[in-house]
Symmetry: C3
Subunit: 325 residues, 3 copies
């Protein structure tokens, strides 16, 4: 109705409406409450809003803050204004790490509480769990830092355009995503609900690289360029693996009701050590194994396993040449 009246072509309705009033008084605030009532009533029927309750849920913003804090801790001096010297480093890292512990405890506690409610479990000792899991997470940071050092070396080894580790840390979406994935994976192993996915989706939004926190990824992992890479929940990746933009490590085609049937099955491939997979190649299926040391060319579609030490190229489809004018 109203929509028709205000289409740009038909001005009469509006002129009629506003001719005799001050344009500046032409506000329609009084129409808003009716909309609010509609919204409120509509919600009573939708499960997706039923978390509204005194129990709060984790915060996307705080979770991103956790990632940024961990970044300052694991790459000291790169992402903060604080000038770091040998002399103030310990104090700086100590403070940041304690803050991180507090932030993580709070969010994990909220995530567990919310999950208890969602699944109608009694929420006993949720805060104790929050503190314990937060500590386990913090205690995993040195291991994560060691893994990231191998990832940085892999980038330097793999990309002719790289000049220095600083460039890798500042400029490589692959490293940023791997960093966030490695954090999220630790929380995934601790069975922390939802927060790991919020973290990897933050990475996805920053880099276009979508790694599910459930994936298992070895050391010296390097993704170059990376936009469009998708790595599924049950993927297993060995050491020293290199991927390029647009590589999908995914599941075979899913029926319309896939959600139910396939949950908790291994649906994604296994990539063994020292494999390279070039741009825009797709590898699908939970039983598909790319053997150690294999090299998979670009633009390839693979749904079967490949023995170790194999090079796979696509027989180029015939091209048709003609005059462009």
């Amino acid at each position: 109705m109203l929509r028709k009246n205000v289409s740009v072509i038909d001005t009469t309705a509006v002129s009629a409406l506003c001719d005799h009033i001050e344009i500046t008084n032409c506000s329609l605030h009084d129409k808003v409450p009716k909309v609010v009532t509609e919204l409120l009533s509509s919600w009573s029927t939708k499960e997706c809003y039923d978390h509204i309750s005194p129990v709060s849920i984790p915060s996307q913003e705080e979770t991103i803050g956790i990632v940024e804090q961990a970044k300052r801790i694991l790459f000291p001096g790169f992402f903060s204004h604080t000038k770091l010297h040998a002399s103030n480093l310990e104090y700086y890292i100590g403070k940041k790490t304690t803050d991180l512990y507090d932030k993580v405890s709070e969010q994990i506690t909220m995530a567990i509480r919310h999950d208890c409610r969602r699944n109608e479990r009694p929420c006993t000792n949720c805060e104790a769990y929050g503190h314990k899991k937060a500590l386990s997470f913090i205690q995993s940071l040195p291991k994560v830092a060691a893994m990231l050092a191998t990832d940085i070396r892999a980038a330097l080894r793999g990309d002719p355009a790289t000049k220095s580790p600083d460039e890798v840390i500042f400029c490589y979406p692959g490293l940023l995503t791997t960093f966030i994935f490695r954090l999220a994976h630790e929380l995934y192993l601790l069975e922390v609900p939802i927060i790991p996915r919020i973290m990897t989706e933050y990475a996805h939004s920053q880099t276009g690289i979508d790694i599910h926190p459930g994936a298992s990824i070895g050391s010296e992992f390097f993704i170059d360029h990376g936009t469009g890479v998708v790595i599924g929940e049950t993927t297993i990746i060995g050491n020293n693996v290199r991927l390029y933009q647009g590589v999908t490590l995914g599941a075979l085609s899913l029926p319309h009701n896939a959600g139910e049937k396939m949950r908790n099955k291994k649906r994604h491939p296994t990539i063994e050590d020292n494999v390279i997979i070039y741009a825009n190649t797709t590898v699908l299926g939970g039983d598909t194994v790319i053997g150690e040391g294999s090299i998979i060319g670009g633009n390839i579609w693979l749904t079967e396993s490949v023995p170790p030490g194999t090079k796979v190229l696509m027989k180029r489809p015939e091209l048709i040449y003609s005059n462009s004018h």
Copy 2:
């Protein structure tokens, strides 16, 4: 000229210049005004800057603020610090919705004014239009909320990795993009200039999913992963359609002067109800129709229609296997 002088190899010029002065006084501020004059004079000749005038244009930042505000209204409790209870919900939504109405009125008014100027139309009642269209937009929110509930259910049905609606709302770039698209589409139907495109481009920058606000998309829409998806202005999509990353619903190849010739023609495909299109498949052309219930495999290039109930797979191109060493 100067550039040569300062190339890293030739240090003499610079030493000469700064040897006898305090390095800290080596600023070259006095050279800036000349650059400013050049910039100013260069603009007089470029249409792309001629909006500089007392009439202001819409703000990208404010438009993004509108999207974020709508997010807090349509997903209450998910994206704000406010703790929501049954008791304060109505007050919260009421306030947010009234604010939203004001923000939207202001931006729409600026967009219409700017458009009038750009097309040398007299700008009569622009503010009245702004208020009317803003109200129509606000009044469409309950409908948008209902559509989004179907989109969330579609995600839960379609993705084995999903655990709960919360996860879909917090972590699914497909839902975020669909949410922003559905808002922008309402403004597009109201013939609001430029703001709908700013909104969908914001979604694109967040998720890598590029949906033109002019596209028409039914209920239960689900895009998984999503990076690289492109859905063109005149695309028509039915209900319960699922797309994966890298799917293009686009136009057939365009000549160099495409801009003029093709504007306002249906250039993009029609996807009927209950269709699944797998990763990195391209469907092109305004006359191309993918019939109801069809399943289109990954990595396919389609420029012709497909009858209802069809499954389309690519005959795998031959692969060449060799030893990788």
Copy 3:
């Protein structure tokens, strides 16, 4: 160890631990220092953190600030709250440009200092270099503005969905990326370390378009949609070239130790004037030349040169049709 104790299934350990204490006192702060010590000791062995020293490195945040400042200067009125009139424009641009000069000098100086240290060169006159190179950068802005005007016209000519230059400036990821690339390329020509890459990676994170600052790109450049586009360091692109989403202009496959071998060689293709390359096509190799006026279809894999005026299409792979039920 600990990880096992806190898995969601086994509650006993935690209950035991927290049963007799106030949940709210269940913090484990005292465990943090040990983690800090581990982190600190681990670093002594990793080259990637050895910049910790009184010499600071460039700031990613400040570099992004430089890009945003340049945006306000080159697209006056589009990305700021300041209302611009013919009367205040000169003052506004003058102030912004002087600020920009200061910001750029500071970051370039830090980048050069850091680079000297990293490569154990004596850092003489680093600040003088910083000022000189900053000035050269500022002096290149009018040239950059002129190039961007041709890019905007190319977008209007090439995209049927575009309505006005404002829309291109506000909404086109291709223009945003080209703008940032053109800035970064000027700094690359000035041999400024790392900052150009931080800039183009910022563009990449915003748009999914990854252009190395070393690429050489002519006027009237238009990328439509753009997600997944990769343009390598030694690519040469002529005037009036149009690319679509997912186009890779890249290097031929790289051995595991590619980093060393290929550095500083031309590894990426040459695209001559008036070429169009459609979505998801890959062109590889430093000797590959796409001749003037050629049109390369979508989804094509090209590793050989194409003579001028050629249209290249892929012979469509055979499709297999069956019933989807």
